[in-house]
């Protein structure tokens, strides 16, 4: 899969600076609903100006964490600091935090203008200032001329932009976005991703976004946290988390990964050698293994880091090489995904960019193929 983080020219990386003061601090926060632990002892630092993504499946606790930041839920234990202030007991209507809701939650009885002005009106700002700021917001989200429309007279993309304008107009210290692009169709989503990032950079407001869409998180976020069952599985920049997953869950959740089981056989300065316990093959990595020799580990290899070619007659599996039969080919236009069945019955996925302009593939169904990869592509994960 193609992963391109939207370029952030000159963006600093405050999370690498031990001196930097975190803007939002989530400290050992736990939230239970009855017997289920929605958020389990989560600690997370987010820095000023970040576009941070909380990524996870449904029930991973990402939305609960966001709602605690907004003030709709109270943590059972732990603290939430915003710009140094403990906000645990601050009700939502007094927090310098605004939220863009998944369903947008636009007020159906108000016009676009009234929706955007709502927050400023609640603050009792003078009419003239409200008018100017609403106009500036309409300009920012390119909705000039739609002032008098009601939400039901707008398209999905327009509603999304009204929701964004309404949550930004108060210039919050922190903007929370709950699946901001979830309701948009694919093309609009891609375009809106860029718009959101450029608006965020223009205003310099810290964004925390919840999403289940890994592509969305990878392309937009400065950093992301993968959540699973209420805990943080991994936190890092999209590239760090994608290229260096620390667990099988993260490797499989972010992108696609072929996961094998094996035992560490040798470790040395050049990396680790792992013997497969599933079939007669070895995996060579160029990083030090997380466990001592003899330990059981997982090995993850991403489909796009594998090469596929026709196997030579009598060719056998070896180190970082597997032999199998093509069972399925998915044509995505920009790349192919081959499903290769190994003799032991396991299927792996191998992708191949569509470099040429072919309607007939050199490799086709039922071909015997060799799949190979470089040691750097072998990711060794603790069991």
């Amino acid at each position: 899969m193609q992963q391109a983080n939207i370029a952030r020219p000159g963006s600093a990386e405050p999370w690498r600076d031990p001196e930097a003061e975190p803007y939002v601090r989530i400290l050992n926060v736990t939230k239970r609903f009855g017997a289920t632990v929605a958020v389990d002892d989560v600690s997370l630092d987010i820095y000023r100006g970040e576009l941070f993504a909380l990524l996870g499946g449904s029930g991973s606790g990402k939305t609960t964490l966001l709602r605690m930041l907004a003030g709709f839920e109270r943590p059972d234990s732990g603290r939430i600091l915003l710009d140094g202030q403990d906000v645990a007991d601050v009700p939502p209507y007094e927090r310098p935090v605004n939220m863009m809701f998944q369903s947008y939650a636009l007020f159906p009885h108000m016009t676009v203008e009234q929706n955007i002005a709502f927050g400023l009106k609640m603050d009792g700002l003078p009419r003239a200032e409200i008018r100017d700021r609403v106009a500036a917001m309409l300009d920012l989200v390119q909705l000039k001329g739609f002032e008098k429309r009601r939400p039901h007279e707008l398209s999905g993309g327009q509603r999304q932009r009204v929701a964004l304008a309404r949550s930004l107009v108060k210039q919050p210290k922190l903007l929370l976005l709950d699946e901001p692009l979830g309701a948009l169709d694919k093309n609009l989503r891609e375009q809106t991703q860029f718009e959101l990032v450029s608006i965020q950079e223009k205003l310099g407001i810290t964004f925390i976004m919840v999403t289940h869409d890994q592509e969305e998180a990878m392309t937009m976020a400065t950093r992301l946290a993968v959540m699973n069952h209420g805990y943080l599985a991994q936190v890092g920049t999209p590239a760090e988390v994608y290229e260096y997953p620390q667990s099988r869950f993260v490797a499989e959740f972010l992108g696609t990964a072929n996961v094998f089981e094996g035992l560490i056989r040798a470790e040395g300065p050049t990396g680790a050698l792992i013997e497969s316990t599933e079939f007669d093959a070895f995996f060579q990595s160029d990083t030090d293994p997380p466990k001592p020799e003899g330990a059981r580990v997982f090995v993850a290899v991403r489909p796009e880091k594998m090469r596929i070619r026709r196997a030579e007659a009598g060719e056998m599996a070896g180190t970082n090489r597997l032999i199998g039969t093509v069972r399925d080919i998915a044509y995505y236009g920009d790349f192919f995904m081959f499903v290769v069945e190994l003799p032991e019955g396991k299927s792996i996925r191998v992708s191949r960019p569509n470099l040429a302009r072919l309607t007939e593939l050199p490799i086709t169904w039922d071909d015997r193929v060799a799949v190979e990869w470089e040691p750097f592509a072998t990711v060794v994960l603790p069991e």
Partner: protein, 295 residues
């Protein structure tokens, strides 16, 4: 020429119109006709509109006297105004009591809502007349309320409750409250709670969120509920007759008197026609507002 049979759709649509024509429009036209007739001694106690004169000419005799009396005699005008006032006050009282009820039901856990709604509707399982009679037993001088007050030593003499405006309003509000609660519940339960979260998020305290979001969005329910209470309450006869004092000369009672005691059918009919017109106007307005809301 081909014979065109009405389609099934037309038939289905025609049925309610036929019903309304037969049982609403036709009786109304008869009542309107009587209203324009002159009273007469006989059966029926009014003169026909169409008459043959001795010369054999068909003449129509319209008597506008009854309508003129209605708008000129302060007795009738006051009865109308009193009816409208009582109905309006009842509507407001039902709203004040019904809104919190409907709100609480709409916010109750889902499995409990049906039970609560059933409790609201439960009184309908008993006869309307019986329920009004029961209030006599509650409010009479030797009724439940007075016995309780006397027993607790709060009063030394029975308090006059029955045959007062209090009893009148208690009866009307009690009987018509479900008509307020149900449409309010219908709109309030449709209200997405996330809108209130959005309001809070944008800085609205709970009370302001209610005023700026919940209240305007429940306006269709408020209007529907108010109309459902107001319209029948204007013409209400039983409750003022059984619970109200002698001063509660509402239009329903006046109509009854004209019809059954004075046997003045034309006058009673004129009263009914004007009452209907008084009610059709707010209904038409309500329909207009509903239509706008639905758009």
């Amino acid at each position: 020429m081909r014979l065109r049979l009405p389609s099934g759709r037309t038939l289905v649509l025609a049925l309610p119109f036929l019903w309304l024509g037969l049982f609403f429009l036709a009786p109304f036209l008869i009542v309107a006709k009587i209203a324009l007739s002159e009273g007469a001694l006989g059966i029926p106690p009014y003169a026909p509109l169409l008459r043959w004169t001795d010369e054999g000419v068909l003449t129509i005799v319209l008597n506008l006297g009854n309508l003129a009396t209605l708008v000129s005699d302060s007795f009738y005008i006051e009865a109308y105004l009193r009816s409208l006032r009582v109905a309006a006050i009842s509507g407001v009282l039902c709203l004040l009591i019904g809104y919190p009820m409907a709100y609480a039901i709409a916010r109750a856990p889902e499995h409990r809502r049906n039970l609560l709604l059933m409790l609201v509707v439960l009184p309908f399982w008993t006869s309307f007349l019986l329920r009004v009679m029961a209030w006599i037993g509650l409010l009479a001088d030797n009724g439940v309320v007075n016995n309780l007050l006397l027993g607790l030593g709060l009063v030394s003499q029975p308090v006059a409750l029955l045959y007062t405006d209090f009893a009148l309003y208690a009866g009307i509000v009690y009987c018509y409250l479900p008509f307020m609660v149900l449409p309010l519940y219908a709109t309030l339960s449709k209200l997405d709670p996330v809108l209130l979260e959005a309001a809070a998020d944008l800085g609205a305290r709970p009370w302001r969120a209610f005023l700026t979001v919940t209240l305007p969005l429940s306006l269709p329910g408020i209007i529907a509920g108010f109309m459902l209470v107001f319209i029948p309450a204007v013409g209400e006869f039983v409750i003022p007759e059984l619970l109200g004092g002698p001063g509660a000369q509402l239009i329903g009672r006046v109509l009854w008197t004209e019809f059954f005691q004075n046997r003045d059918w034309p006058m009673a009919s004129a009263l009914a026609v004007v009452l209907l017109l008084l009610l059709v106007l707010p209904i038409a307005w309500f329909q207009h507002v509903q239509g706008k809301g639905a758009r």
